[in-house]
């Protein structure tokens, strides 16, 4: 309902962070709207966590500027901290405190006391489905529960923005799905979500995505935009037998820019849809039995593999 | 194959040690620091005790007595208080350890052939220094006393021996004729350093792998527990021998501690001791649930007994009977005896077979025990 309130939750322009000679974040700019679920993708070391840390006010940028919730990320870090929630890739609650103690601890640190704290605690216990286990030591919980509790603790002070740094790393698929339901619910409440992830199926859940590579944003848009717009050429799905011979043949064809094994099929990128026949002919000539060869809508995986290879070639 | 795998683990362990600057500090800097400290800074002898003299007699005799204190080298006169208040202030502030009060009638009484009392006030806070200093003071006073008595006897026309004392003592100090305290401490230091290394380094190796979860990776590999254990311990054995050589070199070159006996015997028995020490370290490592507990347990179980109860500094003969029995269980007790025997007395196995045997028994027991635990924890 509040997804299109227009006002930006995050604005960044020309943000740079260097560590010695290493440039972790290189001139990135973007805007995230209120209530948006914004996905941040990229390999390890691409600069995602560094960016998040700058936005949260833990790390001072080397250059550039930005705002979070309308507050300056260089000068107003303390105010920012009271308005945001943060959950990192490592599970970071206290194992030797009980569930309730963890909630109360973070609550009071954020200045949530008394009746409000009781209300928030009840809300988190309900949300994370931990009511029966509220007096268990946190260390005894299964990973999925811990993750939901961590999310709850990050939201104890009802932040208007949540930064989630790979929140679902190491969690089983069922728990991941539940976790994303919670994220959707939070977004419904108007909370802006800034999330980094490795999982492409999670990326599909985001309203918008940014792909980082070597400190730069190399693609930005909705999942649909990325799939349609960023791919130069056409993706062909090829099912052929024997598949390894097909892969070898395809990679030697000049018309095929890229080819990769995708499940039991092959994904090949060619200049346009009209080149499909040439490809089929080449495979037939090599004595490979083609079961299916048709243009396909690229998955995010395809898009990112292609984008990163383009970026590498460009570099 | 087994050798190769053991070698691989050893190499991994070595590189982990070499990459950790703290480990290097523990392995190289700490032993060097300790030997310099014990060799140079720490002196078990009591010398130049700060002393004040409240001389109410102000006579040639009283000055002669004070001179006797100053000449002995055990005392250094730092103040001449003029009243009781100053005396108290000197002792309270810890500026003087001892005050000698010579009453006004001192010279007069001596001349009359009477017993002249003097007062010695001793700061007993540091009981060790105090009792040693008291011994020296009593010695000097007695010497002076017999000196004045002999003088008087001679004046009385007694045909006493011109040499002075009727019974002359010719004392000889064997093994350490100059009574250097570092000749006593440095050989024992080898045991202390080895124990410290074993405790600090090995006690965490197993727990660390378990805490980080890497032990599962090793267990899933074809490495057998024995190979794992040998591979993990071998680097520390080498480091330990390196440190033994380091201490032996510094002790000979810098502090001129004699090595009368056989260096080969030192190294051979050090080998047995190292095995015992590493066995204890490994045992702690396999029992402790976390690195933290391992470290603390290692320090408590090895460092304190090794430094305090092994005879390294505090003589075993001065301990209560029950504690003396306890010291026999500490490997360092036997190894320090061996070290001093070889270094200072030139002992051979003919004399040292007993502590060597006990050491070997402890080593074998530790290795069996820890190997057993090691297999079970895996």
């Amino acid at each position: 309902m509040t997804r299109t309130r227009g006002e930006a939750a995050v604005t960044i322009s020309g943000l740079v962070k260097t560590f010695g000679r290493f440039t972790a974040v290189d001139q990135i700019s973007l805007t995230v709207g209120r209530g948006e679920i914004f996905g941040f993708l990229g390999a390890n070391g691409a600069g995602k966590s560094t960016t998040i840390r700058m936005l949260c006010g833990i790390l001072a940028p080397t250059a550039g500027s930005g705002t979070v919730a309308g507050l300056d990320i260089v000068r107003e870090t303390e105010q920012i901290k009271t308005r945001i929630g943060y959950m990192s890739q490592r599970f970071s609650l206290y194992d030797d405190l009980t569930v309730t103690e963890n909630i109360e601890f973070f609550g009071e640190i954020y200045g949530v006391y008394g009746a409000r704290l009781a209300r928030r605690t009840a809300w988190i216990l309900a949300m994370a489905n931990l009511r029966e286990r509220q007096d268990s030591l946190t260390g005894e919980l299964a990973m999925g529960w811990k993750q939901r509790l961590a999310l709850g603790c990050a939201m104890v002070h009802e932040p208007e923005m949540l930064f989630l740094d790979e929140p679902t790393a190491g969690v089983d698929p069922a728990s991941r799905r539940r976790f994303w339901e919670l994220i959707y619910a939070a977004a419904e409440q108007g909370v802006t979500i800034f999330v980094t992830t490795h999982y492409m199926d999670e990326a599909e859940h985001c309203d918008r995505l940014a792909l980082m590579h070597r400190g730069r944003i190399i693609a930005l848009g909705t999942p649909a935009e990325l799939k349609d717009g960023y791919m130069a050429g056409t993706l062909l799905e090829v099912r052929a037998e024997p598949v390894m011979a097909a892969l070898e043949r395809l990679s030697s064809l000049p018309a095929v820019r890229e080819v990769a094994l995708f499940g039991s099929a092959l994904h090949a990128v060619v200049g346009g849809p009209d080149e499909a026949d040439d490809v089929r002919a080449a495979l037939d000539a090599a004595g490979i039995r083609v079961e299916r060869l048709a243009p396909a809508r690229p998955s995010l995986d395809d898009v990112f593999v292609a984008l990163i290879e383009q970026a590498e070639r460009g570099a | 194959m087994m050798l190769l795998r053991t070698w691989m683990i050893m190499w991994k362990e070595f590189r982990q040690i070499a990459r950790d600057p703290r480990m290097l500090a523990v392995v190289v800097a700490l032993p060097t620091f300790m030997i310099l400290l014990y060799g140079y800074a720490i002196n078990l002898d009591v010398r130049a005790v700060r002393m004040a003299v409240y001389d109410q007699s102000r006579s040639p005799q009283s000055r002669e007595l004070v001179n006797a204190f100053a000449r002995s080298g055990y005392f250094r006169v730092i103040a001449y208080p003029g009243n009781d208040r100053e005396v108290t202030a000197l002792l309270d502030g810890g500026r003087a350890r001892m005050v000698l009060i010579i009453p006004a009638r001192f010279a007069r009484r001596l001349a009359d052939g009477e017993t002249a009392p003097v007062q010695v006030l001793m700061d007993g806070a540091d009981s060790t220094t105090a009792s040693t200093a008291l011994g020296y003071a009593a010695d000097i006073l007695q010497q002076y006393s017999s000196h004045v008595a002999l003088e008087a006897a001679r004046r009385a026309g007694l045909t006493a021996p011109a040499t002075g004392q009727p019974v002359e003592n010719r004392a000889r100090y064997w093994y350490n004729p100059e009574l250097r305290s570092n000749h006593f401490t440095i050989p024992g230091l080898i045991a202390v350093i080895l124990m410290m290394l074993a405790a600090l380094l090995t006690s965490v190796t197993v727990v660390r792998e378990r805490e980080r979860g890497t032990i599962e990776g090793l267990l899933a590999s074809p490495v057998r527990p024995l190979e794992l254990m040998l591979g993990k311990l071998a680097p520390y054995v080498l480091i330990a021998f390196g440190d033994v050589l380091l201490v032996m070199a510094v002790s000979a070159v810098v502090f001129h501690v004699p090595l009368v006996g056989s260096p080969a015997l030192v190294l051979a028995l050090a080998g047995i001791f190292v095995i015992a020490a590493l066995g204890i370290g490994l045992l702690i490592s396999t029992v402790a649930p976390t690195q933290q507990v391992a470290m603390v347990a290692a320090v408590m179980a090895t460092q304190l007994p090794t430094v305090l109860l092994s005879g390294f500094i505090f003589p075993i003969s001065s301990m209560p009977q029950a504690v003396q029995l306890l010291t026999a269980l500490i490997p360092a007790t036997h190894f320090i005896r061996i070290l001093r025997g070889i270094f200072l007395k030139g002992n051979t196995l003919a004399i040292l077979w007993q502590p060597a045997l006990v050491l070997a028994v402890i080593a074998v027991a530790m290795v069996l025990l820890s190997a057993n635990r090691f297999r079970r924890t895996l």
Partner: protein, 372 residues
């Protein structure tokens, strides 16, 4: 500074400590073990010196002299040798610390009013012990000699000097009185420094430190919240050590206990500061423990805890002025044993305060920087 947040952090810390049985055991066991070791087990008193006798004279005089030795209470006769060759084996094996040799002609010389000679051979390996034994030997001989002089001149009135010894502060010269204040300092230092460093590094290791950094908690609040619990524990530790010392080892505190607590709190600035500092240079708990140990060793050895500073060479004595533990040790011993107050201890208190403020502010600065 938000007091509520600091208190909340302290409360959390205390809950965690209370839940960890190992820490509780550590807190309780360390002072008791140390007190036992230093108060009861070890001492440097030398008694029951193992003495072997080689009496080549075998006269009434030689036997009288030997009786003097055995009756003095210092010496235990462990062997009666029949020849010089046995001395080697005995001392080599360390079975005797002293060999008393009375050469032939001893009794004859004394009987004829001449000077006689004896020989003592000491195992000098333990130099300190050898000196003490030599002192005992001389004492016995002087008394014996004095009596011989008197018997030779029965009517002469011979003067003598009588040393009347009074020992202040620790009249029975019990080493436990000396060691208890030292143990108190050491335990306080070790526990507060190590636990502070570990408490911070552990949060870094498990990732909660990062979580705390994104909260409104400032570096100062975080540091206070993490260290104040250990200040409290340090003070509890003092109470524990004091109670053990007073109830079990019967040590009395001559001076003011409130002053002891106040100045301990002053010292805790140093040890907590060092703990914070170590936490900033350590990534893991293992590193923090090693660093603490590397810092602990010189502090203990150079503070005068076991080895008196005044026996060290001048250059090293200079170095000891840089060890804050040294001042605290002097303060605690002063209060414990001498019963002195601020009028005497002010120089040490000033030195301790200067070190405490310097170390704590340096550590705090580094800590805040490391968080950013």
């Amino acid at each position: 500074m938000n007091l509520h947040r600091i208190l909340r952090l302290m409360k959390k810390e205390l809950i965690q400590i209370r839940r960890d049985r190992r820490i509780l055991a550590f807190l309780f066991v360390v002072p008791v073990v140390q007190l036992f070791l230093f108060g009861y087990a070890v001492s440097t008193d030398v008694n029951h010196v193992a003495m072997a006798v080689l009496d080549e004279d075998r006269t009434a005089e030689s036997r009288a002299l030997i009786r003097r030795f055995t009756a003095s209470g210092y010496f235990d006769q462990v062997a009666y040798l029949s020849g010089q060759r046995e001395i080697d084996a005995l001392l080599d094996a360390g079975r005797a610390a002293l060999v008393l040799r009375v050469p032939r002609g001893f009794g004859h010389a004394l009987a004829r009013g001449r000077g006689a000679e004896i020989q003592t051979i000491l195992d000098g390996a333990d130099s300190r012990m050898a000196r003490v034994i030599a002192g005992y030997t001389n004492g016995v001989l002087r008394v014996y000699g004095g009596e011989i002089v008197q018997t030779r001149a029965p009517r002469a009135r011979l003067p003598a000097v009588d040393g009347r010894v009074r020992v202040w502060y620790n009249p029975e010269l019990k080493s436990v009185y000396f060691m208890v204040p030292g143990v108190l300092c050491m335990v306080l230092f070790l526990i507060t420094m190590l636990m502070t460093a570990l408490a911070i590094v552990r949060e870094r290791e498990i990732g909660t430190l990062e979580q705390l950094v994104v909260t409104p908690l400032s570096a100062g609040e975080l540091m206070l919240g993490k260290t104040l619990p250990f200040l409290l524990i340090g003070l509890i530790e003092i109470v524990l050590t004091l109670l053990t010392a007073i109830l079990i080892f019967r040590v009395e505190v001559a001076g003011s206990i409130p002053l002891l607590f106040a100045l301990s709190a002053l010292f805790l600035m140093t040890s907590l500061g060092l703990g914070i500092f170590i936490s900033t240079i350590s990534k893991t708990q293992h590193e923090a423990t090693l660093s603490s140990f590397l810092c602990f060793m010189p502090f203990i050895l150079l503070s005068g805890f076991i080895f008196p500073v005044e026996n060290m060479p001048a250059a090293i004595q200079g170095v000891t002025y840089l060890i804050p533990l040294r001042y605290f040790l002097e303060i605690v011993r002063g209060i414990f044993l001498r019963g002195v107050g601020m009028d005497v201890l002010w120089p040490q208190v000033i030195a301790l305060a200067v070190f405490g403020i310097a170390i704590l502010s340096l550590a705090a600065a580094r800590f805040s920087k490391r968080l950013g």
